[in-house]
Each structure stands twice: as C-alpha cells, then as structure tokens.
Symmetry: C2
Subunit: 203 residues, 2 copies
C-alpha cells in the first residue's frame, strides 16, 4: 500500500489522523499532572514525551493547537511545574479517558480511578502507583512554525523509579514495570525487552 | 529509588546517559536513509522520530550535537531528502550497529546486512524489507537552546505500508509487522497491541 502526499491531503479526516499518528512508530505513554493557580488539578495523556539531553536532564513534548490538554499548558505556564508519570498496564483505560475534553474546573482525577499523590513540597500532583514518576520544571517553549505546534521543554527535578526496573548501569527496564507504549491516537501496546546491544564501534 | 537533579549531575556519565535516555518511556525505532552530494549512502538508527501534525503530514526528530549521525544531517541539508524506515525484529542487530561512528565515505549498508532500495525518482535510499518506509523532504530545523539540540522537521512525500498492518480506519497495527521500540540507548523491545479505546468524551 502506498500513499503519496497528495493522497494524504485528500483522505477523510479521521482516516488521515489515524494513519499519520501511527506511521511514526511506537510512542511513549505518559500522564502529565498539573495544578492551576486556584488549586484545580489536571491529568492528561501525552504520547510525545522525548529525550532531549541528559546534562541538564531535559525532556520535551509537543503541544498541538487543537489538542485537548490546553489546561495542562496553562497550568504549566502559571505554576512553572508539572509531573510526568508512566502509564502501566493496569491503568490504560482510565489513562486514555483523560483525553476527553473536560472543562478546566473538572479534575480528571475525579472522573477516573487515577489517584493524586504529592511528594514533599512539589506543587503538581503525581499519579499514584506509576512505576516512573518525574517532577518537572518548565524551561522554555519552542515554536515549530511549519506545523503551528510548540515543543514544551522541561527539566527533571526529581526522578522516582520502582527499584526492580533499575539495572546496575542506569538502564531502566520499562518492560518489568509493564509500562505501555502508544500506537496512533488510541492503541495501547505492551512491549517486552528482547535484547540490549551496547555501544557499537566500527567493525 | 529517587534521583534529584543534583544527584543526576553527579552521576558517572555512562550511568547518567543510560538513566536519562530510558526514563522518558518507549521510543520509536527508525533507520534514516540518506545520500551525499557525491552519492555515498548512509543509514543510521534514530529513536526520536515524533509526530508533529497530519495536514501537512510532518514528523520531527532530534539531532544532538554529539550524536553520531551527523552524516545524516549534512546529507539532508545537501539533498533536501531522506527516508524513514521502521526497524523490525529481524534486523535489530544490524540496525543498532549503524550507531557506530563510521567515516562519511563508508556506507553502513556495506558494513551490515541492511540492503538499499530505491523507489521511482526518489534520491535517498530506503531500507529494503521494512514494513513501513517513508520518503521525506526537509522542511526546517528548529533550535532548542536550553539543551543545544535541533529538531529536524520533514514532510512525508510517500508512505509505504505492508498491507497487512493497515486497518480499515487508517490505524497501522505496528505489532503485526514486528516493529520494534527502543528503551534508552541500546534496548530493543517488541510490543504487542493490547487494546484500542477510541475517541473519549466526558462521562
């Protein structure tokens, strides 16, 4: 099967967004937790969290103009903080339901069986029970003009990892925590680690 | 286990890059094919290809100053084109070996059992046998100052999909093609699609 760029433009919208959202490969499956100035909490699924660098430890995610979780964005701008929590097998249905367009004053924590957790002085809510949880601080937003999207960059302030996932050299075996991966807009896949190949040198 | 930002700065380098590269969740596993002005081909593994938008259909990937595949970058600037090919189970070892630092005049296609494929007039090489192959044209590069990295944005010109992966609504079941996902710098995981939940509305 082949689609040219012209074919893609002509596709019916739902077909097109399913196709182009799933053609890039597997995506990370995260819940972003945030809190408004007034103290309303928010949690929303994101599938674009990407590693940017390890010193300083920064991650980015894509915010589309039409995406649901604009509450997340406003909260991050207002408070400067958010959390990233990995979606694991037991919570996929509730995690995906956070993509529904709730008003800003309704917390997705109240509409699902996801539970808030607070750590120390950190203002934004974590999602209880996730095998990896990160306290993030907002660094910058970068505008990507060609598609009218923004990359939001955050720095890791605290990284919590379920002990059994962490290997001796710092590698995190996500599959031991039943961390999920996303295909397209609504597909949840469970990966299994097959192999590590180490650092490669020319033959 | 918890790491603060300060802890992360103090970690030994290899431990730190393993940790921070694997903490963001599962990553896409792609081979980028390119060709120099002189006709030397290049193929290199990337784990940061991200969906940016579907109309126009654009994808981005992160280029770090210290990353190996600088040949890929120069080729893209010189020719304006590249290919994205999904890494599947049968080629993971060769795919990962493309991360070795070969000189620009040595083609990774000659150093591995990966084979070049050309389609129509498109200048850059595809990787033969991959269940998804995309012909891409360079759109823009966006500088992310906070970590001195670039996002390279490309537009999909042609999208080739193994028929059996494509569902009636445009969703691509990557797991039917044994497409892999990457953890950290060198872990290859095989995901299995568990469930699709569809579009969500408030309860």
């Amino acid at each position: 099967m082949v689609f040219t760029e012209e074919d893609i433009f002509k596709l019916q919208k739902i077909y097109r967004i399913n196709l182009i959202n799933s053609c890039s490969g597997y995506k990370s499956a995260n819940l972003l937790g945030s809190i408004s100035k007034d103290g309303s909490t928010n949690v929303a699924v994101f599938s674009s969290v990407t590693h940017l660098g390890s010193k300083p430890p920064t991650l980015g995610f894509i915010l589309r103009p039409t995406t649901v979780p604009r509450n997340t964005y406003q909260n991050i701008l207002d408070t400067g903080v958010f959390t990233i929590n990995h979606i694991h097998k037991n919570i996929i249905e509730d995690a995906h339901h956070t993509s529904a367009k709730y008003d800003a004053d309704i917390s997705e924590f109240d509409q699902t069986n996801l539970f808030e957790e607070y750590k120390g002085e950190f203002e934004a809510p974590f999602v209880k029970g996730c095998p990896i949880q990160m306290a993030m601080s907002f660094v910058e937003e970068v505008y990507i003009a060609s598609n009218d999207v923004k990359m939001i960059v955050g720095r890791i302030k605290e990284l919590y990892i379920d002990d059994q996932l962490l290997q001796d050299d710092g590698f995190i075996d996500l599959s031991k925590g039943e961390v999920m991966s996303i295909i397209g807009l609504d597909g949840y896949a469970l990966p299994k680690l097959e192999e590590r190949f180490g650092y490669q040198r020319p033959k």
